[in-house]
């Protein structure tokens, strides 16, 4: 290949790359995350008040069982199917209480369910808008009638919340929707918060939950780790936690304040802004290709491929 064409090639490669190069640079430059919307609905789970009765788990399954396609999970020691015994959140279980033992004297219960992020990754990545965030309540909801089952939401969620029904021929994603279509609609409160006998689960607007959490931290500073989990994590979540043990030990990962979706969307938007780049690329390439065709029609066609090759300077 000739020296000249190599240069041409590098030029072209450079052009193609320039747009893509610019994108991450812009994104990495950073930008302020929009403030959290504290009017949205959420829950405050106080691990120090939880007694591990699992009333929330059974209420969730009772209320959402049919709507959410949940089912009871059998334990190995229980051939008669007397208890519901999920090991983890799964395609049958939206919420779960676990006991975490740090030492014989230090232990804590912890409740898992969807964090209802302010800027949810699952909503950002869903290709067919099956995951949505309600503009007013902030509830992150799932619609099985549009979902294609690609499981990108599972890849994207930093909390590993969305679960897939691996054993079903007609599977769906399972995750908490704050009883949006069941208990919340009928009674104005999520089922788990409604039945909690100790008040460990508080349901309400994020601003009220935050105020309550801050009050508890101020009143009983020795009882808690001085941190409201979810206040800033990944741009803020509507499900908040208070606990006596380190959150990391409770299975709640240490996370940055920026939502991953801010980062990825910024890059995607820079590349595809107004669909200008793809159209520009297509028209430029068309121009080059048509010009080449016209140039080529005169002679290249008549030459046998081998001869053309031999003419190349190496």
């Amino acid at each position: 290949m000739s020296q000249k064409s190599r240069r041409e090639f590098l030029k072209l490669a450079g052009l193609a790359g320039a747009g893509l190069m610019a994108a991450p640079a812009v994104a990495l430059a950073g930008h302020p995350v929009a403030g959290a919307n504290d009017e949205e609905l959420g829950m405050l789970y106080d691990a120090t008040k939880c007694v591990g009765c699992k009333a929330c788990m059974s209420a969730c399954k009772r209320v959402n069982g049919d709507y959410g396609a949940l089912s009871y999970e059998q334990a190995k020691f229980d051939p008669d199917k007397l208890w519901d015994a999920p090991q983890d959140l799964s395609g049958s279980t939206r919420t779960l209480i676990k006991l975490v033992k740090d030492s014989p004297k230090e232990w804590s219960y912890v409740k898992y369910s969807c964090m209802h992020c302010q800027k949810p990754s699952c909503v950002s990545v869903c290709p067919v808008s099956a995951m949505t965030k309600d503009k007013i309540t902030g509830i992150v909801d799932y619609n099985k009638n549009t979902c294609i089952g690609c499981r990108y939401c599972q890849v994207a969620c930093a909390f590993n919340i969305p679960k897939f029904q691996w054993e079903k021929a007609i599977p769906q994603i399972v995750k908490c929707d704050l009883c949006k279509n069941t208990n919340l609609k009928q009674k104005g409160i999520s089922a788990c918060a409604e039945v909690c006998p100790t008040g460990a689960i508080m349901f309400g607007k994020r601003k009220d939950l935050l105020a309550e959490a801050k009050k508890r931290l101020a009143e009983h500073p020795k009882q808690y780790v001085n941190h409201i989990y979810g206040e800033h994590e990944l741009g803020g979540t509507n499900h908040l936690y208070l606990a006596a043990l380190q959150f990391k030990k409770l299975g709640l990962p240490e996370l940055k304040g920026e939502a991953p979706a801010e980062f990825s969307e910024k890059i995607q938007h820079t590349i595809y802004k107004g669909f200008i780049a793809p159209v520009a690329l297509y028209s430029t390439l068309c121009f080059i290709a048509v010009r080449n065709m016209k140039k080529g029609n005169g002679h290249t066609d008549d030459h046998k491929p081998e001869e053309g090759e031999n003419n190349e300077s190496r």
Binding site: S5, R6, F9, L10, L12, A13, A16, L20, P24, L89, S121, S124, V125, C126, P127, V128, S129, A130, N145, T146, C147, I148, G149, C150, R151, Y152, Q154, V155, A156, A158, N160, K163, F164, Q165, W166, E167, K168, A169, P171, Q172, L255, P260, A261, S264, I267, Q268, I271, L281, Y282, L285, C286, I288, A289, N292, G296, T300, D301, H303, P305, E309
Partner: protein, 421 residues
């Protein structure tokens, strides 16, 4: 471009390799049936922690890169105006068509609710923030484009045929199956006339389709990288970078050229045709430049993000990173020698090194460097692997058969004495 550049490979279709590939394909498709009856969990080891297994990692993310031969060669021919590579394009397009078509098919096997896929065509459901949305639309569009690009081969064949096989069949079964020989032949003749009518019209607009076939992979190959941008807490920092889209784009180009070389050498070897050394060494002189750019971006990005110590730690992740890096770098270094570029053996070895390295990069990003948290583990199950093997076998099988039915391979000049077994 004239259509005399290509020829049908006259050889037996039902070879031993045909039967082997067919067996593998049948096993794979039987397991796919199992998946649709008893769910994905019945055949695969995927879990809520590793929701994407080898079907996505190999069949889609890596398979489409391997299918980028058509894309890479098209850039060379139509954009860089190297018309003497034109004889290579049809076989490259055919493999791309199979690669992309079957990647799309794999996705339909992998997704849980494929019947809802029509939502990609419902504007109110569109979700432009999702890289997956972009990939899905582009891959569907590109597969269509590839089919149109391959159409001239089919049309040429239709025009030249005298339906000898069909005639033989009709004579043998005359009167049975309700087949009336003259009526059928009349219909076949009509089909032939349609092909004659369509061919010149298609030739006129084909260049715009071809250019679309260059634009679309540029878009979705970079988006395949963007897919993992969101997994900032799960993808190991060696691979999680804002440059993922750019790295995936360059990666698919050098894999594309290397695969075009491999394909040509393997089919020359398998079909007992002479090697197209001149064209291949031309292709091989491009790859080291692309890989150099790629390696520079990788290193520069690691330095910028302060990840160099992680890369040299020699732990699990670092080992895979160094392997990927080493394979691509060694393959490219070897190719800087002009002498090696003239040798089929070295062309083959270097192309294998680069394809392996490039493919490992994609595996690293999608699976090996992906860690959803403690307690999760993934290694594909046998059935999962067999499904992928079956799909790949079907791909090779289809290629083998189609080059013997349609004018796909480059016409041999001065080599007319090739055996016509």
């Amino acid at each position: 471009m004239s259509h005399d550049e290509y020829q049908i490979h006259r050889a037996k279709i039902l070879t031993p390799s045909f039967w082997v590939l067919l067996t593998l394909a049948v096993i794979g498709f039987a397991l796919i049936a199992v998946r649709f009856i008893w769910g994905i969990g019945a055949v695969s080891n995927m879990s809520d922690g590793y929701p994407w297994g080898i079907w996505i990692t190999y069949d889609v993310a890596t398979g489409t890169a391997i299918a980028c031969g058509g894309y890479a060669v098209a850039i060379l021919i139509y954009i860089r105006n190297k018309m003497h590579y034109h004889p290579l394009i049809r076989s490259a397009v055919l493999t791309s068509l199979f690669g992309y078509g079957l990647a799309g098919f794999s996705v339909m096997v992998d997704v849980g609710r494929p019947w809802n896929a029509y939502n990609f065509f419902v504007p109110s459901q569109w979700q432009a923030n999702s890289a997956m949305f972009e990939v899905a639309l582009c891959v569907m569009a590109y597969t269509t484009v590839l089919a149109i690009e391959f159409l001239p081969a089919v049309l040429t064949r239709l025009q030249e045929t005298n339906w000898s096989r069909a005639r033989g069949f009709l004579e043998k079964y005359h009167g049975r199956f309700g087949l009336d020989t003259p009526v059928v032949l009349e219909k076949l003749e009509k089909l032939r006339q349609r092909a004659v009518w369509l061919q010149p019209k298609l030739d006129k607009v084909l260049i715009f389709v071809i250019v679309l076939g260059i634009t679309l992979p540029t878009m979705h190959q970079s988006s395949l990288g963007s897919l993992l941008l969101i997994a900032s807490t799960k993808l190991y920092p060696l691979w999680h970078t804002g440059f993922l889209p750019l790295l995936f784009l360059i990666n698919c180009m050098f894999i594309g050229y290397s695969i075009a070389i491999l394909e040509s050498i393997i089919s020359s070897f398998g079909f007992k045709r002479p090697f197209e050394i001149d064209q291949l060494s031309g292709l091989a002189s491009i790859t080291p430049y692309l890989t150099s750019i790629w390696l520079c971006v990788v290193v520069g990005d690691l330095v910028w993000r302060g990840q160099v110590t992680n890369a040299l730690r020699l732990d699990f992740y670092s080992a895979f990173f160094l392997l990927e890096f080493g394979l691509v770098a060694s393959g490219s270094l070897l190719l800087f020698s002009k002498k090696r570029r003239q040798s089929p053996r070295w062309l083959f070895i270097t192309a294998v090194l680069i394809v392996l390295g490039g493919a490992l990069y994609r595996f690293n990003v999608y699976l090996i460097g992906f860690n959803p948290g403690q307690g999760w583990r993934y290694f594909p199950s046998l059935a999962e692997i067999l499904i992928t093997v079956g799909i790949v076998a079907f791909e090779i099988l289809g290629y083998q058969v189609l080059v013997k039915l349609f004018p796909v391979l480059p016409r041999l000049h001065g080599h007319e004495v090739v055996e016509k077994a």
